[in-house]
């Protein structure tokens, strides 16, 4: 079957074939005006691709691409006018300038999130004429910068084809870098971050730094495009870089699909050959773009690329909803874990006049399961949020193996070895099961963006480790069969297991399970209990926040009971289950029911031991 043959073609083959064709187009007799057209598409592709990195992957709209483009063009143009004609040197200088402008707007712009980056970067576009005017001796002012000398490479002047080649290869190299970046763990980190900053920081991903990095990296191709553009006509004018260009770039991004690598090409081709070509269209350009942005924003989830990918997975790969169940074999062992002790020293927290926690102390030791129970509103979640760094403590301290963690950012605490799951599982949409687990590998083994983009030996080493660990853990939790499925489509119980897998793969020193048993059926609870006891046996430290009293009694080594912001009892399960205050406040049990409850629990634990 034709369809089966298509399936066997590796997806990377298509862009490679396309790249080779474009490189040899002039040899195949493409006319000069049409070569120019290809180059303009290439420049637009670079601009759109940079925007995609911040809008599609980091979720931040940047309207300032024209300003970065202008920066690159003026830097290269200034060098060209003053005899520094080596195009590679110009590109490097343009990249430096672009990164500088990117950081200058990115750092303040990303402080507030949402719209402030769009606005600070958009402001740059408005400033272009002013800045060009102020430096008119260097930039030629409003008339434009003329007299840029023809580009050279390694001392010889570039031929037309040489220049064409430099431009096309720049685009290809950038797209290869971009692809390498977004398919690496950094790409997963960006997608996690975009959907949930809270989840990202619990995985050790610094929200602010990652967003700034994505946005600043997105400035690089715009700077390169500027340097190349300055050498196209040997003349640049400030009017090229205006609001209309910003909207064109945005429209191309939305049309091609912002969360994709190659969508930028599709968007750029359509914009360059369609709207930007026809002169009669100029008057109505804004109206058309406006409509396109509205329709695209409302209807297209990820542009034309998104439509194509959906069709591909629906008709060629025949993917449907997932409804397989999960099996765990009971005879597995975790490799030894290096658990740490987490200590909470008399912390307090109040919100306004409401004292959420008063003088709370507890300890979770290595190789032990420490449970935290308490009725709703008792302060469990507040305590969790303080341990994870989402709230600041009013008084007291929290330490992991003696290292103070209170007052640190959530991502730093995660890097100290604290991993957690969530009451409502936080699983980003559009990511496969194995990639969800991969997102947990961000902390234990570091990998720089540089190694990921250039695919250095370090990348492959880390990549191999990641794969091994992920396969092992998926095997243990019984999700191996599901590893290529989209994770959000799984059932609640399976998602909870997946979250535990994600936490475990980060080689945590303390693992914090937030109401992992709620919403699970009896089989699933049994599986969960087995997992937890095996983590303990391997030497991990587990903190269990739970409503399932029976599960807690059967699993925990120590139980802390929280009520109205205070620890009302601490001790072994045997002490807690007969503590009258616990029974009254937490369970609401009357005296005569106590014996009955104890009997049930006993039956339960003996049942499990068999």
């Amino acid at each position: 079957m034709f369809v089966n043959q298509i399936k066997r073609v590796p997806p990377i083959a298509v862009p490679i074939i396309l790249a080779v064709i474009v490189v040899f187009l002039p040899q195949l007799g493409l006319s000069l005006p049409n070569q120019r057209q290809v180059l303009l598409i290439g420049f637009l592709t670079l601009l759109v691709s940079g925007l995609n990195l911040s809008l599609g992957y980091a979720g931040e709209l940047a309207l300032g691409q024209p300003a970065i483009y202008a920066t690159g063009a003026y830097v290269a143009g200034y060098m060209g006018v003053h005899g520094e004609t080596d195009i590679f040197l110009q590109i490097l200088a343009a990249i430096g300038a672009a990164l500088f402008v990117g950081l200058l707007t990115g750092i303040p712009g990303l402080r507030l999130g949402n719209w402030s980056l769009a606005m600070t970067s958009f402001f740059l576009v408005l400033l272009i004429p002013d800045i060009v005017q102020i430096f008119q001796n260097q930039t030629g002012g409003a008339i434009g910068l003329a007299g840029i000398m023809p580009p050279t490479a390694f001392g010889t002047q570039l031929t037309n084809y040489g220049y064409y080649l430099v431009c096309v290869l720049s685009v290809i190299v950038w797209l290869a870098f971009m692809r390498n970046l977004v398919t690496s763990r950094h790409g997963i980190a960006l997608r996690v971050l975009r959907q949930s900053p809270v989840l990202a920081s619990s995985l050790g991903i610094s929200v602010f730094r990652t967003k700034v990095t994505a946005y600043a990296l997105g400035a690089v191709p715009a700077g390169v495009a500027g340097a190349l553009f300055a050498n196209l006509d040997h003349y640049i004018a400030p009017t090229e870089f205006d609001f209309a260009l910003a909207v064109t770039i945005l429209a191309a991004s939305i049309l091609g699909g912002a969360t994709s690598v190659y969508g930028a090409i599709i968007g750029a081709v359509i914009m360059q050959l369609g709207p930007l070509e026809s002169t009669s269209f100029q008057n109505d350009a804004l109206i058309f773009y406006g409509l396109l942005l509205i329709v695209g924003g409302v209807l297209l989830a990820n542009g034309l690329t998104g439509i194509a990918t959906n069709a591909w997975s629906r008709w060629v790969l025949k993917r449907g909803p997932v409804s397989r169940s999960v099996h765990i074999s009971p005879d597995f062992q975790f490799p030894p874990m290096s658990g740490a002790s987490l200590e909470v020293h008399s912390i307090s927290k109040s919100f306004g006049g409401n004292k959420a926690l008063r003088d709370v102390s507890m300890t979770a030791e290595r190789g032990k399961v420490t449970a935290l129970i308490g009725p709703n509103g008792s302060g469990k979640t507040t305590l969790l949020n303080m341990i994870c760094g989402f709230y600041k403590t009013d008084a007291g301290s929290i330490t992991i193996d003696g290292h103070q963690i209170d007052g640190r950012r959530p991502s730093e605490i995660a890097r100290q070895g604290l991993a957690r799951t969530f009451q409502m599982p936080m699983i980003p949409a559009g990511i496969t099961v194995s990639d969800v687990v991969l997102s947990g590998r961000y902390t234990p083994e570091r990998l720089s963006i540089g190694s990921a983009v250039l695919r250095l030996p370090k990348y492959w080493r880390v990549h191999r480790h990641d794969r091994e660990r992920i396969d092992d853990i998926l095997e243990i939790v019984g999700l191996t069969d599901l590893k290529d499925e989209e994770a959000v489509k799984l059932s609640l119980g399976t998602r909870r297991l997946l979250e535990i897998a994600r936490a475990l793969v980060s080689e945590p020193r303390v693992i914090l399970l937030d109401e992992s048993a709620s919403g699970l059926d009896e089989d699933e609870v049994a599986r969960l209990a087995l997992l937890i006891s095996r983590i303990r046996d391997a030497g991990g430290s587990v903190i269990l926040v739970e409503h399932n009293f029976r599960l807690v009694l059967s699993l925990a080594d120590t139980i802390h009971v929280l009520a109205q912001g205070e620890i009302i009892a601490s001790g072994a399960p045997a002490e807690i289950e007969i503590n009258p205050r616990v029974l009254k406040e937490y369970l609401g049990v009357k005296e005569k029911d106590i014996e009955e409850a104890a009997a049930i629990i006993e039956a339960d634990t003996t049942g499990q031991q068999r």
Binding site: L55, G59, L61, L63, L104, T105, I107, P108, G109, R111, L112, N114, W115, S116, A118, M119, T120, F122, F123, L124, L126, L127, D130, I131, Q133, I134, R194, V198, F243, V247, L250, I254, N283, D284, A285, L286, I287, F288, Y289, G290, L291, L292, L293, I294, G296, G297, V298, T381, L384, N385, C388, F390, Y391, K392, F422, Q423, D514
Partner: protein
């Protein structure tokens, strides 16, 4: 003092943009990038009504307010409500702004048009500064709008409902607040204000196709200085932006006025990202 008056006047225009952002932001959590374009549309309608159709002033106000009211309501229906992913609002509101900008350019052309003032042009002197009556109108209109809105937001059910939505959307819904209708109303109402502002700000700003993108930015700076969601903050922020712009232009030259505002924005975002009147919310899981 003359400089201060003109700075406050231009600042008041930015404060109006910030107020429009705030109304919609409080009621629906959306940032309406197109609000400045709505105001520009009001100015163009004022130009048409006063200069081309020569209609009575009151009729011009009614037409401008009415049309922009409808455009605002349409915007919510077409570009806000159907959008599932809040991130996509960034794109659709830019789309609405671009569409309005393109349409006004198509109808009225790219060059700035003068909007006549409906009152006298007799210069008056207040506190030793010379000021035109149309400037006083802008100042007065802005202060009254902000003042009334502050009262309304505390004293009426709709205002309280909006505050409730800003605090917690789901909880507000559970208390029987029709979140969708309030968001729709907020867009329409901010449109009404933008339309009514048209004939008032027009004599100062001119009906120009580039008006929207610049006041969209200055309005945003005003908002950032004052803090998202704060009405008095937006007013003061607007004045600060106006003063920075006028003083920079006066002492360093007009090419520096935008750069001064940009520097102001960067400094505020770095040092006080929640603005002067903004609140800090602790996040919870």
């Amino acid at each position: 003092m003359t400089l201060i008056w003109s700075a406050l006047t231009i600042g008041a225009v930015y404060a109006l943009v910030a107020t429009g952002y705030n109304i919609v932001f409080t009621a629906s959590g959306a940032f309406n990038f197109a609000h400045a374009s709505l105001m520009m549309l009001g100015v163009f309608i004022a130009y048409w009504g006063l200069n081309v159709a020569k209609l009575p002033v009151i009729v011009v106000f009614l037409i401008a307010g009415g049309i922009v009211f409808i455009v605002g309501a349409l915007e919510e229906r077409v570009a806000i409500r159907p959008v599932r992913n809040p991130e996509a609002l960034l794109v659709t509101t830019v789309g609405v702004a671009t569409l309005i900008d393109g349409a006004t350019q198509r109808i009225w052309g790219p060059s700035p048009l003068e909007v006549p003032f409906f009152g006298s042009n007799q210069v008056v002197t207040i506190f030793g500064g010379r000021v035109l009556p149309d400037e006083l109108w802008i100042l007065g209109f802005t202060i009254v709008v902000v003042g009334v809105l502050m009262l309304l937001s505390r004293r009426t059910m709709v205002g309280l409902a909006m505050l409730a939505i800003a605090e917690n959307r789901e909880a507000a819904q559970l208390r029987g607040i029709n979140v969708r209708r309030i968001a729709w109303g907020a867009f329409a109402f901010s449109g009404l204000l933008a339309g009514l502002a048209g004939p008032i700000i027009g004599p100062q700003t001119f009906a120009s196709a580039t008006l929207a993108s610049s006041i969209a930015l200055y309005g945003f700076v005003a908002l950032a200085i004052g803090g998202f969601g704060s009405l008095p903050g937006g007013l003061i922020g607007g004045f600060v932006v106006g003063l920075a712009q006028e003083y920079a232009a006066r002492y360093w030259g007009s090419t520096y006025s935008d750069i001064a505002v940009f520097a102001l924005l960067l400094i505020v975002l770095l040092l006080k990202p929640n603005g002067l009147f903004g609140r800090i919310n602790e996040r919870a899981v």
